[in-house]
Symmetry: C4
Subunit: 234 residues, 4 copies
């Protein structure tokens, strides 16, 4: 199972890179089902992550497998979320172009199309950075504060930096990220046209909506789509 998770993590990296969500920076992780640990690439751009780059890291930051590899500077983003959220098994940390503008204005991200209904309970913004590393999230305490702002939500914004999206598994986290990115793009255009009719809160929050959007048939279809779109690599 661990082998499969490593392969899926590589695919998740490549899909997010191929769709323009992760560029030279950003990262994605998946929880190790057998320990208080996660799998994540060593410091490498998502587009070029290979299975040999994947390390296993305990939630306190100790590198368990791949100890000679250099990790990303912000692994606490992932570790703090796993520590706080038992229901989360995958985390995407990204700086998608359509999302960043919302991190520095008062306009809230709200669903404007059906697949983003899963964000109907809101997308809170973290802004209580430690001064030391600017807008990077590096210390354990900073990570814990960040995870507290995430709360039970599916996504959060990081002021003047980016966003985190979580899921019960890699496919859910990746597809939810794509839905968030699309929603931010469509909402931006709608805001400029003016008079946006956001989803009714009750509607956006209904379990049925969530089931429809993340129904196995849809997830399977989308995952085939995004993974088949990947360019071949030798």
């Amino acid at each position: 199972m661990t082998d499969s998770l490593r392969a899926d993590l590589v695919t998740a990296n490549h899909v997010l890179a191929n769709e323009g969500i992760l560029g030279g920076v950003g990262h994605v992780s998946v929880r190790d089902p057998d320990a208080d640990a996660m799998f994540i690439s060593r410091s490498r751009s998502p587009a070029f992550v290979a299975e040999s780059d994947v390390i296993r890291m305990a939630f306190d930051g100790t590198v368990l497998d791949g100890s000679d590899a250099r990790p990303y500077k912000e692994t606490v983003i992932h570790r703090a979320i796993y520590r706080a959220r038992d229901d989360v098994n995958a985390v995407v940390h990204h700086h998608a172009p359509s999302v960043i503008p919302y991190t520095v204005t008062d306009v809230e991200v709200r669903p404007v199309f059906h697949m983003a209904a899963i964000f109907g309970d809101g997308v809170p913004t973290f802004e209580d950075y430690d001064a030391e590393f600017g807008r990077l999230i590096v210390t354990e305490a900073e990570g814990d504060r960040m995870a507290a702002v995430l709360g039970d939500h599916r996504a959060q914004l990081l002021a003047g930096h980016g966003s985190n999206v979580v899921g019960a598994g890699l496919e859910e986290a990746v597809l939810s990220t794509l839905a968030l990115v699309m929603n931010c793009q469509y909402q931006f255009q709608a805001e400029l046209l003016g008079g946006v009719q956001y989803f009714d809160d009750a509607e956006a929050l209904s379990t049925t909506v969530e089931e429809a959007v993340l129904a196995p048939m849809v997830v399977e279809r989308l995952w085939e789509y995004y993974s088949r779109r990947l360019p071949e690599r030798d």
Copy 2:
């Protein structure tokens, strides 16, 4: 003829995917000229639909050929339109990025360039969803209400979801979809510049205009263009 329709349906799927109209989701169908039925892919992303994915479905939702295949959840969108419109032989259901913003604001889609003159009679918006499946259109009654809003128009918006475009044939439905998508993009920019001079209603509605835009020579040229742009697949 049925064989040819299946092949054309695959091309229509690929063209709409290649032009960024259909991504991981959305679907296109064509009427079976010999029965109260339609051809449509099984649940698969349009970019990767093959002839073997095409099923034949009666207008009541019964799968006639390909009964072991899983259909899209929203086939009633297509079936309800065919039931209501004898003149329609092809339907595109899509979530094109440039169109969605208009589905959640009061700005009406109106022609701003000559090829969109075919939408001069308006693009009505459906918003009377059943609560059960959120912004998806799943029940027969919901589909019928949606088709009633479409009326005699060439296109309609689905609030907070997407859009349907119809045509007398696959080429017309596909090219009309592309014209709608381009118009929404240009209109958005024009709205922001301000003081838009929309087409005069009489002008947009004249039969001659429609003939010019959908003249056989233009349709043939455009169809060659969009189908030759498709990447080769093995």
Copy 3:
């Protein structure tokens, strides 16, 4: 020389298609230096024009070479301009996305970056269409009225339709089209930011500026760039 002109015309078609200026529609022509005639493709999308598609057409619309080929419906756009402007040897008729919004609003196209200084004398808009063919330009009289609005300018807008750009040769017409398209994109963003500082008229109109922007060294560099960017075709 005629052979060379046909080959250059094919390259011009492909460059404009490859840069997203001409899609399924639009056309480019070059004057026949030996007669009151022009070279232009038969009705075919610019991306796929080959030398065998090029026809020779007199300025009255008579097809001189390639008489069995079906011409574009709007060849009068080109013919009327050649009839009116001895200094023009190439014409691009296009519907570039960044330009169309300006054709339906009162915002004038004005230079906001150095390479668009060649449009410092203004980009007038034609809107006196014959009713018969909607926003298409089909009759000789319509074409002449259109050419009269162009006057001595390098470019004009066609209300709710597109734009024409002219040049002393194919390279100049193509590169001027690209400069117009870029300017419209940048100006749009500048208009939205607000308080645009357009070029001073005298500055934009100075001969030196024009020489700098269309200097042989720059034209040569750009032409190499755009033609080398073309995908290989078999």
Copy 4:
């Protein structure tokens, strides 16, 4: 070392072209560590620059190696900056689409995401052009005035023309250019949403922030990313 610099300069040209920063025009240079001179391509579009195109030019404009090659018209942009700034070893002169709108409005470029914190001390605008060459920078005096406006900053705008970005080395100059371009894109969207919360000046200017953004690990990861994204060329 000189050989290596020439190869790196070619890569820098290709990376900036591949990311859409440099198109048919624009140029990048690197300081010759052994003389008052720089390496820069002869007049050629950055996408197609090869090592054989690289010339060595003294800061007074004399071509030292490759004397039969035709230089870009605006080499003084680079030379004037090297003359004024001992700490600068690489210069990018570009016309990136997202940056140009800021050169003709009063909206200042200010950091809205963490990687642009390096521009926290401001991005001044040069507008004191000589009339003779319009918005091109050609004379030595014009170049010196331009370098004076740059001052100690990492980047400057050129009114109605483009932008210069400098760095301690090629990688820093290229990655800083990319950060500036992304910031301008995100800031544009944020400005339109309204109520932008720019970085606190002290925060943006802190040494730690700069170190984090330009930390060797990040630079190495990004450089691998951008250079591996280059299409293969024969």
